[in-house]
């Protein structure tokens, strides 16, 4: 018999307990991973907003609750445009609107037609809307396909009926699934005249984006700049809080799981104390005896982690199909999610196994053999 075979035998001797413990680990991992992948999906969606414009950097209001509540006025936009190193700055107003059950978070971008080229917008059908047109809209080609609309169709949004003048492509899936409105019109619909949400900045050739960002932040201390998704927290506190919640729940899951793992291991230790004494008596070292107990826990942890990821995948998929969440959640199974699953499972096992392992290690063989 191999050591691994012995470990498996020991686990299989108490199948209900082993499966129960693996399930406990799995549920904890599932909770953590589901939260992580859904928040990662939200983060990715939010970060996608800043990449729509293909800018070198994005300027937003510092410390906004979320990026879409950022407000930048005309004067600030003018200041950004006049900052040294800025070749072009496009101000856009971004809003999210529920169009129908299938599109509960439809993105609407208010932008001047003259800024579209700089924003990376390519017209693929029809024409651009007029700069001050009141009831005209352009749809991203994905949005048009999803909604079954085309040039000349009518599209209801912001409480008005608009004519689709053209279809556009930004090369960004998030942007292409939205609509573009004349900037004054959407500012009017939302009663925020002269306000934009984001400013997309293209640097002068040869300028370093970091240097330009520093200049903007120096001139306009109430604004901040984002160059990568990882800097998103500068502007969007919601994602920071969400990340903190994910980390907090991971720690909580580890602690709760550790208590379960520790209790089960302790029970196993008490039941098998004589056995551990026997192994010591036939020549197993203290640590090899302990490694038997630890290996059993490790197998359950890794098995539980795998099962937890599988369950998480199922739960996350189910969540996306719930009518109230459809279109809002996009689970993002990244390597980080799998690492988090393993970290949670191993964390539970290591913390939970600590006391039983130490107790098993310090047990004198004679005490173990005479244990009743």
């Amino acid at each position: 018999m191999t050591f691994f075979g012995l470990v498996v035998r020991n686990l299989w001797a108490k199948p209900v307990r082993s499966i129960g413990l693996a399930l406990a680990v799995a549920f904890a991992v599932m909770a953590v991973v589901t939260l992580a992948v859904t928040s990662s999906g939200l983060e990715e969606s939010a970060a996608a907003i800043i990449s729509v414009g293909k800018a070198d950097l994005t300027v937003v209001q510092k410390g906004a609750a979320d990026i879409l509540s950022s407000t930048i006025d005309k004067n600030e936009l003018t200041s950004v445009r006049s900052t040294r190193g800025v070749a072009n700055a496009v101000g856009v107003l971004v809003e999210i609107e529920r169009i129908n059950a299938a599109n509960p978070a439809f993105i609407e971008i208010g932008i001047e037609p003259s800024d579209m080229a700089a924003f990376g917008v390519t017209l693929v059908a029809g024409r651009t809307y007029g700069a001050t047109a009141a009831h005209e809209v352009m749809l991203g080609w994905r949005a048009a396909a999803n909604l079954g609309l085309h040039v000349g169709s009518t599209f209801k949004a912001n409480g008005t009926t608009n004519t689709v003048t053209g279809l556009f492509s930004t090369g960004n899936a998030f942007g292409d699934a939205g609509a573009m409105f004349p900037l004054p019109a959407i500012q009017g619909y939302n009663r925020v005249p002269g306000i934009v949400t984001l400013v997309f900045v293209k640097d002068v050739a040869g300028e370093k984006a970091a240097a330009v960002a520093r200049r903007i932040e120096y001139r306009l201390p109430e604004l901040t700049t984002i160059r990568t998704a990882s800097q998103f927290g500068r502007a969007d506190r919601t994602l920071v809080y969400l990340q903190a919640a994910v980390n907090g729940s991971t720690v909580l899951a580890i602690l709760i799981g550790a208590v379960i793992v520790g209790n089960t291991m302790l029970l196993s230790l008490f039941e098998r104390t004589r056995e551990f004494g026997l192994l010591r008596a036939v020549g197993w070292t203290r640590w090899r005896t302990v490694s038997l107990l630890a290996s059993e826990s490790l197998i359950l942890a890794v098995g539980g982690a795998g099962l937890g990821v599988g369950l998480s995948f199922m739960v996350a998929t189910l969540l996306t199909h719930l009518p109230v969440l459809a279109g809002l959640l996009t689970p993002n199974f990244t390597a980080d999610a799998f690492a988090r699953a393993l970290f949670t499972a191993l964390g539970m096992t290591v913390v939970g196994a600590l006391y039983p392992t130490i107790r098993a290690a310090v047990l004198p063989p004679i005490k173990a053999i005479q244990y009743e």
């Binding site: 018999m1 191999t2 050591f3 075979g5 012995l6 035998r9 020991n10 299989w12 001797a13 004589r274 056995e275 004494g277 026997l278 192994l279 010591r280 008596a281 036939v282 020549g283 197993w284 070292t285 203290r286 090899r288 004198p364 063989p365 004679i366 053999i369």
Partner: protein, 258 residues
């Protein structure tokens, strides 16, 4: 020709448990290599404690133990000592019930560098030796108490230890099973293996070359039977003499088979 050192030699061995319970009160004992020694005495006289100390699964509170001429404290690794120098048989066999009989026999061979296949083959060989080959794949719960004890003896022999230590090996067996276990010890004795058996049973003690009687934590008498005697004494330093008049060479531990 140089004589081999005694398998065991103890000097002034004491073991006091919490509450000032003196299980051993100064035992001097030498067991020659190749000798079979039975330790007898009433319950609580310290014979099992002595065996546990010889097996290095317990630690004395005073005195010293040497094995093969080397103090136990100087053995680099007591796990290695327990694995290779001694083989231990308990009264209640202590087989792990979840794994097959053959796997139980393999347990001492883990971490010895033997491959799983080599361990399996050695276990099979040992089970044949104790007439338990037929039960190799059975669980311990599927065989009788006497058979389990024979498996425990096979396990104790797994790494071919210099010494076999047995603590009441027939204490929980019926007479037929006891007889088979005694036959096994007799065969091991006849092949020259050093054996120390703690027992109450007269028929088990009869297998021994020497019967050592203990009372109240001290050795009170040695009764060499048909074979050369064990050397024994107590903390008082008085060497004792076997009833047949042969002198015990206390603390010298030079006796072997004569």
């Amino acid at each position: 020709m140089s004589e081999s050192p005694p398998a065991f030699e103890t000097h002034g061995l004491t073991r006091t448990f919490p509450g000032h319970v003196e299980a051993l009160r100064g035992v001097d004992l030498a067991v020659a290599s190749g000798q079979t020694v039975a330790i007898t005495g009433p319950s609580g006289c310290g014979k099992s404690t002595l065996l546990h100390l010889l097996a290095a699964i317990d630690v004395p509170t005073g005195g010293s133990i040497s094995a093969a001429g080397r103090p136990l404290g100087e053995w680099p690794d007591l796990s290695e000592y327990r694995r290779s120098y001694v083989g231990l048989v308990f009264q209640f066999h202590d087989l792990i019930p979840r794994i097959p009989v053959s796997a139980n026999v393999e347990l001492p061979m883990f971490w010895t560098g033997r491959s799983p296949r080599a361990r399996r083959e050695r276990a099979r060989e040992l089970l044949e030796l104790v007439d338990m080959g037929f039960a190799a794949h059975r669980l311990p719960t599927e065989i009788s108490g006497g058979e389990r004890q024979r498996v425990a003896i096979a396990r104790a022999l797994a790494n071919d230890p210099a010494v076999l230590l047995a603590d009441e090996p027939t204490g929980s067996l019926d007479s037929a099973s006891t007889e088979r276990v005694i036959d096994l010890f007799r065969a091991l004795r006849d092949e020259g293996r050093t054996i120390v058996i703690v027992t109450h049973a007269v028929e088990v003690a009869a297998v021994a070359d020497v019967v050592v009687r203990m009372r109240d934590g001290v050795v009170v008498e040695a009764d060499p039977q048909a074979r050369p005697p064990v050397v024994l004494g107590n903390a008082d330093g008085l060497d004792r003499q076997a009833p047949d008049g042969r002198a015990h060479r206390a603390r010298q531990g030079r006796l072997g088979r004569g």
